[in-house]
Amino acid sequence: MTCTRYNAVYNSPIPEMLTPSPRFPLLTCYLWLVTCFLMTPVSLASEWAAPEQELARKIAAVTGPGAISLEITNRSSLTKKDVEQIGQGLRVQLETLGARTVKAEQAAASVQVSLSENLQSYVWVAEIHQGAGDSSVVMVSTPHSDSAVFVREAAPLTIRKIPLWSQEERILDIAVLEEGSSPTHLAVLDPDKVALYRFADNRWQKEQVMEVTHLRPWPRDMQGRLMLRQDHLLDVYLPGVFCQSSNTAPLTLTCRASDDPWPLSNQFSLGGFFAPTRNYFTGGLSPGIGKQTSTMKFYSAAALPRPSYTLWMFASVDGQIHLLDGITDQVARLNWGSDIASLKTSCGSGWQILAARPGENAVDSVRAYEMPDRDPVVVSPPVDFAGGITALWTEAQGTSAIAVSRNAETGNYEAFRLAPACGQ
């Protein structure tokens, strides 16, 4: 069930966001759903009241008081329930104007109402036929509701997909700055800014916006990374640009042109040079993996520690996975997508790789793998997304990841935390 009239989105618009109480999450959810269910008809009725009234007035102006037949046809994206409610509302409004609805054979005028729509509005058209005379056409329009609908998907077995944020602008990365049982302070990176949000008074409130300055145009399929720091809040890595926040409030962001390597992991010290006008890393590594200081151009990287070395995996632009261990560069065609990230967990061997993979209709999924040797073993069912994945980054603690996807239906970017749940 969705409660569209109540903007059932998890963060948009932010002031109306509802989140479950940390103490009684299930109860709160249940009450919220029940409330939503009970109040929906009332909400819808008030939503359509104005156009119902206006159309009834226009119909009655043509027919005058008396007996009319009313037939309603839906030619729009309105649901059956909406159509029934609009029909009821229209009848009530016509009655108040003296036009009572009867069967066609008893009517002095027949009214065919079509509920249609165009790009921006619902268009309700009444074609009125009286006797043998010409028919009249009257119509009204009412804007489409812009409220987005976010339907939370059923919980997967081993990777929990926890919604964090959604917005129209592309989300490059998200950092959770503080959390209790759920995040309470977020930094959201998009191409123009870092926005800080705090959950207070039962809603998300924008705390501060720090603009990102840059001289060159951003590349398409833009990538960016937020890294939390000890001595200041965060660093921002963007194509050809590096930004650093100040360490005192109010926070500021200082950006400069930079070709410094981006950190590829919080846990392992390795950086990769990002091509400033592209969507991939050049392949240059700093300081390198053993003697290896470069690999093929790649989109993302993930590390798996071994007893005596670290195995690095690179999702290369040629669609293959390069495995570097400091000595060899082994190529594997695993049919993974462009985005991979590693997680340190208490499940299985303790380290897993998350890999995106494309599905049908540009809908991607993520699943977890282990690498006992050099061949991956699937360790979770896939977690599906409502569109293509645009970013997948390991979070600061290394135990969960941030996945960003673009919802194919709404066009909004949605960020999720992917957290493993062992043995489910």
């Binding site: 165009n118 790009l119 058209v125 145009p217 993974w336 494309p358 994945i389």
Partner: protein, 456 residues
Amino acid sequence: MKLSGWHRLAVSSLLLGISALAETRPQYGGTLRTTTRIAPSSLDPADRTQSDSLARRNLSSLMFDTLVVMDNRGRLQPALASSWKTEPGNQRWQFWLRRGVKFHDGSPLTPEAAAASLRVASPGWSILAAVDSVIIERDSPAPDLGAELARARNGIAKRGPGGSVTGTGPFHVTDWQAGKKLMLAAEEGYWAGRPFLDAIEIEMGKNSRDQLIALELDKADVTEVAPEQSHRASTEGRRVLTSSPIELMALVFARDRQSTADGKLRDALALSVDRASIGSVVLQGAGEPSGAILPSWVSGYAFVFPTEQNLSRAGQERSEIRQVPSWTLGYDAGDALARVIAERIALNARDAGLILQTTTSGSADVRLLRITLGSLNPRVALATVAATTGIAAPKMGGAAVEELYQAESAMLQTQRLIPLFQLPAGYALNSSVQDWDQDRDGSWHLEDVWLGGNRP
């Protein structure tokens, strides 16, 4: 679970992996090869000697940007103008230009350059260049001026000697053989990000059959598909994407209604056309029979205008006229679909007692025309049809849907045109073309397209 469950998952993953693609992230590089039916002799977006078509607009948008664009909901979005405001009354609009934008020749986009370009496209407007903006003043309220500026013909171009033009769009021209071939290369410093493709190669003047053969022989990556061929192309396993209906096919009379009798004969002709049969047989179900000028997804009320054939009423209207003239029905000689439909219409008319002689001559009494939807703004779209067909521009005081309906009704009552079908635009793509993002009106976004698979 443990081991057995994990093993099950491993097996299922392997099975899935066989058919899965490896890449999800867009890849840079490669040359996209495409074909079009049109063969323009000029690339200037404001050249009014070239007929307006979706293909021409799409070509133009590769090289030229407009100040604003329209999204799929018909709302204005920033492009070369990063912001704008309108004075109360909508007579004066001010557009602030995006900073740092350059023409393909390296010169900066200035308010003077933008204003000069717009003066060529719309000579009747008062256009001023301010410090960082362009100001447009009109004699009367112009609430739809933004939508007008979003049209490809208002693309910002810098015109040089000898008819050369340069734009600020995502691709620049590397080779241009008028009417035959256009080669474009990605603009590295494009303000909205360098396109993924390195280059685009466009072969022009190709008929539908040749285009599909080029796709079949892997000589093209993207081709146009005629509406009547889209169903078959899909069933043959080709990847076909179609837009919403964006092209009005209509009968357009060369002259205004001459008399009451002439009006009755035009009525009879409109009533005689069997749109349903033509739609299912000739168009293979690809076009929507329409009695309206605007498609329903743009106006919301197109179904109000009748489309059914009514031979008895047509015959009755015809019988009231003693002298029935013989009309010539013209169509584009290069348009095979138009020829078949024109012949069907002539047969339908004969059933109602009318005489229609089909011809490819340019001076026919009535012509079968295709008119591309001019804008996602219904008022601008209606005005565009009026301009194309020679009907007086409709007067609309406000933005209410009822006023739009009345304006459209008034245009139809002139009896200068008889709407027949709303046709979609279709494209066939080979498997290497990724992220083909097509607007509802069929507009391309080739700057977002990339080539996957084995293509270079």
